[in-house]
Structure formats: C-alpha cells, structure tokens
Amino acid sequence: MVFEHAVCAFCGCVCDDIAVTVEDGRITQAKNACVLGKAWFLSHGQPSDLPAARINGHAVSLEAGIDYAASLLSQAHYPIIYGLSSTSCEAQRQAIALSETIGGNLDCCTSVCHGPSGMAVQGVGEPTCTLGEVKNRADLLIYWGSNPAESHPRHMTRYAVTPKGMFIPNGRKDRTVVLIDVRPTPSSRAADILITPKPGKDFELLWALRGLILGNKIEEASLAETGVTLEQLTDLAIRMKKSHFGIIFIGQGLTQSRGKHLNTTAAFMLVRDLNRTNKFALMPMRGHGNVTGIDNVLAWQTGFPFGVNFSKGYPRFNPGEFTIVDVLSRDEADLIMSVASDPIASLPATARKRAAEVPMIAIDTHESETTRRAQVAFIAATAGIGAEGTVYRMDNVPLHMDKILDLPFPSDEELLSRLHTRVKELKS
C-alpha cells in the first residue's frame, strides 16, 4: 500500500510530498524523502519489541506505568515538563493541560535552539514570509550560521535555491546564494559566495553590515576582529540593496553562539532597515519537525512561546528562570518529564547532573539516553506514522499528518491525556 503525499515530520521543512510504501506492517520505502526523512520513516515504521511501559527498567503494564508516573507527577512541588518538539500539536495541548494541573514549568526545545529568535521578535518584531514566497520571488538567499545540506537536506531543493517560481522562471540561475559560517560545510558547495567570519563575531559583523546598509562609513580596521574584509562586506551590502526580494535564513550558529539574542536582534534589525528600500525577510531554520507547533500552541494557550511557569495558577514567562537548563542547573526542579525529546543526551552537564538526582519520566518513540535513565519510561507511537495530528512547518504553515501504520503503542496524545486524568484523580 502506498500513501502518496505523506507528511515528513522529522525536520522543520515538513515536506508533504513523500510517497510512503507499507508492506506487511512495515514501511519499506519513503520516496522523495531526504536521507534524514528516509531514516525517520524506515526506523520508526518498524515493529519494536520494547515494552510500552517500564518502571526502573522493568516492563510493566501500561496502567501500572501510568499509575506510578501520575503519583510522581502529583507529588512534585516544582516539576518541569520538557521537549514536545517531535510530536503533534494535539499531544502538545495535553502536555500543557497536565502542566497547568501540576504547576511548575513547561519548556520546549525552543529554549535551547531558537529561543533567542523568539526573544528578538519580542524586542523588535520580525519581517518574514512563508517558504512559497521564497520559492516564487527570492533572488538573494543568505544562510547565516546554518548548514541546511546536513540539517534540512531538502530546504535548498524544494523551497529555496533550485525550484522555479512565479517570478523566478529559471530557478537556480535567477538566484544568488550566500553562506555565512565560521567554516566551510557541505552546504558551501551550493553557495555562490562564502563568507567565513571568526567564531563569536556575528554580532559585530551584523552591526557593521547594518551600518553599510544605512549608508554609514565603516573603517576597514574596525572589521579586523570579524575576519571579514570591508570589500567582502560591501559586496554583500550592495547585493542586498540590489535584490528584488532577499531573505536571511538564520541557524543555531547565530542563535547559540556568543551574543545569542543580541545576534538575532541585530539580524532582525538589519532586515527591518533593508525594508526601507528593498523587500527583505528573515526566517529561523527551525530544527525539529514540530518545534514550531509547540511555540504556537503554547502561545495561543498561555500567551508565551516557551519557558512557561504555572506555579501561581496562571502562565508566567521568563527565559533564564523557567527554562530547562536553568531550572535544572540551579537544582530547582524536583521532577523532570521529557516528551518526544532526549534531554539527557543533549543538555549541558550541570543540567544532566540534576536530572540524575530527581525522578524522571520519559515518553519517546524509541529507546534513548533519557528513556534508559528514566524511572518510568513509555514508548509512544510516532506522530505522523503511528498517530495522526497536526504539525507546523518552520514558516508556521500547518499541515495534517495521517496515521500510516498501526503501531503497538499509544500515541503521545493518549498517554498524556491518560496521565492527566489519573493525576486529577490523585489530586482530588
């Protein structure tokens, strides 16, 4: 059986043109998918002998697992629910409802990837667009601190660089591609121009570029620390001013290096300034399949896109206070529940240390460092393969994922809903 137009929810590109073949209860082909998408469909679309629920590593019934996890959740004083970037919006809603009931914090992977982009929006706003605008109109593409060839393999071919569009009749030939990164990457091959600033000098470079765009005189000497020459930067500024529609795609090279939200704010302000004379946009290269979804669901339900606290009975927002690394590193959280994420493998050591000292509950679609370490571990059906639901692309375009396979596990949505029901019973 072939599912045409299946949606791949692995990365923020959320390509929806995948032809998925299912034979004998397993996925055998994912046509059109990139190397990451193929691996995602093929590995998640296989039968698994993992138990649906484990307590301290021992298989238990789902009911027993839910019971025990709910008792931990209902006793916690300052818990944190974290992750949610690789699941459906329907599951994300359930997680927020649960978090509200138990109090404490809810944070998503945004706080360790594009949180600084979200903070730049709060500071200065955001001139942006959907990916189709890029396909149809963009004649200048700048990837800054991003390596799409490896992180978003179809970004260049499906949306940005090679496709022909309404006002870009010749596709690649009508576009100029600039890559700005601290070293050449596999994406460099696709670029017409490669600019390699010194690490940690993005802010300085952006600020100087902004100066050039605004017509200010920039001294060669002032650029020395950035590793970029005035000639290179002037050439880029001229190209930006000559473009009909330009876009900067910003990656974690910008958001998670020295300067963080100051880097992103500088980039957003640069693009804002450009709009005095040129149509220009900016888009964060959101990584995980539905990390854009959790930002959206959190924003419409609580008003804030990440790092939300419910301890007072209503939502509060403060990055640096209610965000995962901070809540763990300061030894504040007394329970961590991870959903569709692997914090033990990805967080800094200080945060991991605390995670090892407090009860941990993990829900994921496969075995991970986090599920292995958790007191209670659940295996869930992958959203987009074993469960239907909604996913938001990096440009906030929402798509519906059908269920492709019957997997022997409940969905995140169902697990979270059952956990919430049980917690409410225990609390009443």
Partner: protein, 543 residues
C-alpha cells in the same frame, strides 16, 4: 427547561421592544411554552439575545504571532485557573481560553475572526477549538489571491467563482474577505494600491475589478454573508474618496464595509485628518445594499494586526515600535505593530470621534454593527463603555472634555444629541450582525432560535450594566451568574459549503504544482478533525 419570567425583553428581530414577557428554553432552543425546570425571575432585568461580534481578530497566525511578540501585553492581566476553567492571559491579545471566557462573561456568545489566510485555515480552526463557550467562524482572505487575480484579468468569471467556492470549502471558512485588494500583492515588492484603478503589477488587474468580481461571486454563490471588504488606503488622510469609490463600485451589489471608521478621513496623505463621515454616512443611508461595522477606537494601549501589510509598515514608521510582517505565498500578507491611542493626539482623537459619528449618523441601525475591530481600535472589553457613550449623551459630553478639542471641532460629534435606546443597542450588537451574517437562529429570541440569552440588571450606568451580566445562557445552559463562569463548554464553528464545478480543481492543481509549497491534496482542512463541533450554514437564495 428554563423559564425566564418578568424580564424586560429586547428582541428586535421579533419586534419586541422592552415588553415584559416570559422566555422559555427547551434543551438548546427557545420554545413557545413550558413548565418545570429552572425559573429565573428577571423582574427589573433586561433580557436580550447573546451578543454577536461580527468582526474581530481572535484566532490564527497573525493573532498568535502578536501574542508571541508582546509578553508585556500579558503579564499584568492574568487569569488563574479555576475548578472549571483554564488559566490564561489577557491584554489586547488574550490567550484563546481567556478570549472565550471574557466574551461569555460580557454576554457575547458568537464571534467571527475577520481575516484568516487560506493557507493557515487549519491553524485558525485549531485556535477556535481552544476558544471556549462562544460559537465562531472566520472569513478567509481572497482580495490578493494570485490565482483569482490571474483569472479576473483573463475574464474567466466562472473560474473565479468556482475557485472562491472551492477555497471556502477547502478552508471551512464562512465568507469571502477582501483586505486592501491588490495592495497587499503590490506590497510584496514594497508598493501599494492608492486608487481603485491602480494596476496590480504582474497581474493586469485593478482593485475595482477584484472588488466587483468577488462581490459577484459571493452573490452568485448565495453566501449567507456577502463580501466583507477592508477598503484600500486604510488609515491614510484623504482615504474617504477611496471608500466612496468602493461603495460606488459595488453598484447595487450587497456588500459589507468593515471598520469603516478607519476609512473616513479627509485631508491629504501625510497630513492631519478630518472627518468625512457626513458624506459617507449619507451614501450608506441612501444605499440599502451596503452595511458597515464601525471599528471604534478607544484610548489606551492595544495591538494593531492586519492582513494589510503596507499598513503595518506605515504604522511601524509612525510609531517606531516593533513590527511584524508576514507575506503568505500566492495569497496574502500581514502586519502587526503595538499602538497606543492617546486622547491628546489630534489623529487619535479624530479617529475616536469619527467612530462615534458613524454610530450616530447612520439612520438604519440594521446596517451598522458595533465593533472595535478588536484589537485594532481597542479590545472587545471596551464594548460596554462604547454602549454607554452611545446611550448616555451626558457621559459622551463629559468624555469629550478629555479629548483634543481641536480635533473634535473638526467633527460633527459635539453637535450630535442622539442617544441609542436599549432596542437600538440590541440591534447593533445582536440582531443586525445576525442578519448581516445570515444566521437565522442567532440574534433573536423567537421560537426555534438558539437559546443564547443575556440577562442584565438594569442600571443607569450602562457601562456597568453591560460589563457584568446577571446571567448568560448559551445553548440552553446557564453558564454565567453575576459575571462568574460556572461551567466550561465548547461552542461550534460555522462554515459554508457552496457548490462548484469540480472541473476547476484541475486548474487549481496545476497552479499548486507550480507555485505552492504544499501539496494540493494536503491543503484542504479535514472536517472531522478540525471542526469536531460544527454547523454548516446553507448557501441559498436570500432575496
């Protein structure tokens, strides 16, 4: 069964003007008679149908990016969770739960979001599903749709109509919305449309043709709510001429001109405005095919959010505050800027006065609806104060004392003595929006109507009276008592399913393959999944 006895009933659709009579509710509807159940003694109280907001911005991508952009809007206005209700935040862009609860607590039971890009329809439905209590729906944007513009230019009227119908079906929307027709497309290369006859570059079409073609489509498709128009040149001095041209361009076609306050300015672009309401209201008064909602400005901090991209940029230039712009492929755009309306500002005072002039100068209340274009003119939380401004001449005069006097002097407001009656208030907040939307079971208390009822304690201070209803009944359930929500329920989503020739899908599919980044098959909103509680409103000849 609920019996509401001894109340003073205002039900304009049924011609009931303050008579004391009993209302019976059986299950979810109004009944002719009944016994048993709950009795509400409404002696000394006013009974009206539930309020209807026919133009607000409460769901979808533009609202949500505004929420993300403005944490400062939320932090001083929080809503803790209760035994029944979810927590949330307020401010000018409340979270979804707060939006539903606050409408209900104010006696409003139906609200329509006015501007959803078709590509984001699924998002709007997700948010509407998380907006409790009220019934809802949205209008979808078509005034800058490139497929539509191409086929208007080539004179293929039938394709335009069939496409509009297909799009309404695909998005599960309620009506066709135009925002700055042609101008938002031009904004994609930093331009704008300044007159109805400017050519949209690359598409060989004018705003006038877009307005006429989509007005025709909405009539030929028998949409329950005809075309809903946000005119070109919003907010620009001298724009009243464009507004008048738009009214004339409709000829005898039915059409709704929204947030008309923002489109009624004399003067020259870049300069101060003055009011041109007298001229425009005259035209509306003598043309029964036209209806308006006001988009009243109230003083204070709020958030401007619009599908009108070039307007967003203009406001950014004027205010210097943070600015969001989102261009949506093949369809639309969007601009968001925080804004504070100041009573000492000449421009803002003029806008405030112009809104009130509209209420007071349109003679037929059945063709004007109370809105603030929430949150653009102000939050919907201001409705009770606006009602007081309309009903209480003394309060209005007193309020004028605090407002820029030079600005007021250029309007007719100081000379207007009209006061709205409760009957007229019931028209502009209930009966008229229900009729204009073609919702036969809303906005009245006749037998068979939806049992959405608001009961107010009488009070000379009309702001207090309309702020905290004594009871709010939704679908036959008593949900609010003394301003407190007793129960959390979900309303339903209204949508239309106009018929179209399936042949058009071939053409649309080709277009998708060439210019969209989502698959044709993945574009339509899945009815069961995204509208779990729904009501299709029939498209039929309403002549």
């Amino acid at each position: 069964m609920i019996r509401i006895i001894n109340g003073e009933v205002y039900d304009p659709i049924n011609g009931i003007n303050g008579e004391v009579r009993d209302i019976f509710v059986d299950d979810r509807s109004i009944a002719a008679a009944g016994a048993g159940g709950t009795t509400i003694d409404a002696a000394g109280m006013v009974v009206m149908p539930g309020g209807i907001d026919m133009h607000c911005h409460i769901a979808g991508p533009k609202v949500n990016i505004a929420r993300k952009m403005r944490p400062e809007d939320h932090r001083n206005d929080v809503l803790p969770r209760t035994q029944f209700t979810r927590s949330g935040v307020g401010g000018s862009i409340p979270s979804t739960f707060t939006t539903g609860y606050r409408y209900a607590a104010m006696g409003y039971t139906t609200a329509f979001d006015a501007a959803v890009p078709p590509l984001a329809a699924r998002h709007a439905h997700e948010e509407l599903n998380d907006t409790p209590v009220v019934d809802k729906g949205f209008y979808t944007l078509m005034g800058n749709n490139e497929f539509i513009m191409q086929h208007i230019a080539s004179g293929e009227k039938e394709i335009v109509r069939n496409f509009a119908a297909w799009l309404l079906n695909a998005t599960k929307a309620y009506s066709i919305k135009l925002v700055n027709p042609g101008g938002v497309e031009l904004w994609k290369s930093l331009g704008n449309a300044h007159t109805l006859d400017d050519e949209v570059t690359g598409f060989k079409v004018t705003p006038r043709q877009i307005i006429q073609s989509l007005a025709d489509a909405s009539i030929e498709l028998n949409l329950p709510h005809r075309v809903h128009i946000h005119c070109n040149n919003l907010g620009i001095a001298g724009n009243w001429e464009t507004t008048l041209e738009t009214m004339k361009a409709l000829e005898d076609r039915q059409g709704h001109l929204t947030h008309i306050q923002f489109h009624s300015y004399g003067g020259t672009p870049g300069g101060l405005f003055h009011s041109k309401v007298v001229e425009l209201a005259d035209y509306v008064n003598s043309h029964p095919n036209l209806s308006v909602d006001v988009g009243q400005v109230m003083f204070g901090d709020t958030t401007s959010m619009t599908g009108d991209g070039p307007l967003g940029y203009l406001l950014y230039q004027v205010t210097g505050r943070k600015w969001v712009n989102v261009d949506v492929e093949n369809e639309e755009g969007c601009g968001i800027v925080p804004i504070e309306y100041k009573d000492k500002s000449h421009v803002h005072a003029t806008q405030w006065a112009i809104g009130l002039e509209w209420f007071l100068l349109v003679k037929d209340p059945w063709r004007i609806a109370l809105t603030t274009d929430h949150p653009n003119g102000a939050s919907f939380a201001n409705y009770p104060r606006i009602i007081r401004l309309l009903m209480d001449r003394g309060y209005r005069k007193e309020s004028m004392q605090h407002v820029n006097p030079k600005a007021l002097a250029d309007t007719t407001l100081p000379d207007l003595d009209r006061e709205y009656s409760l009957y007229e208030i019931a028209i502009i907040t209930r009966a008229a929006p229900a009729r204009l939307l073609g919702l036969a079971k809303k906005g009245h208390l006749g037998v068979g109507a939806d049992a959405d009822i608001t009961i107010y304690d009488k009070n000379d201070n009309k702001e207090k009276m309309f702020s905290v209803p004594r009871y709010v009944i939704k679908d036959g359930q008593i949900l609010v008592e003394d301003g407190h929500l007793r129960e959390d329920v979900s309303g339903r989503t209204f949508y239309v399913t106009p018929e179209y020739d399936l042949e058009v899908e071939k053409e649309i599919r080709k277009y998708f393959d060439a210019y969209y980044t989502v698959e044709f098959e993945n574009y339509p909103v899945q009815l069961e999944h995204y509208l779990p509680r729904r009501e299709a409103v029939m498209c039929r000849d309403i002549k």
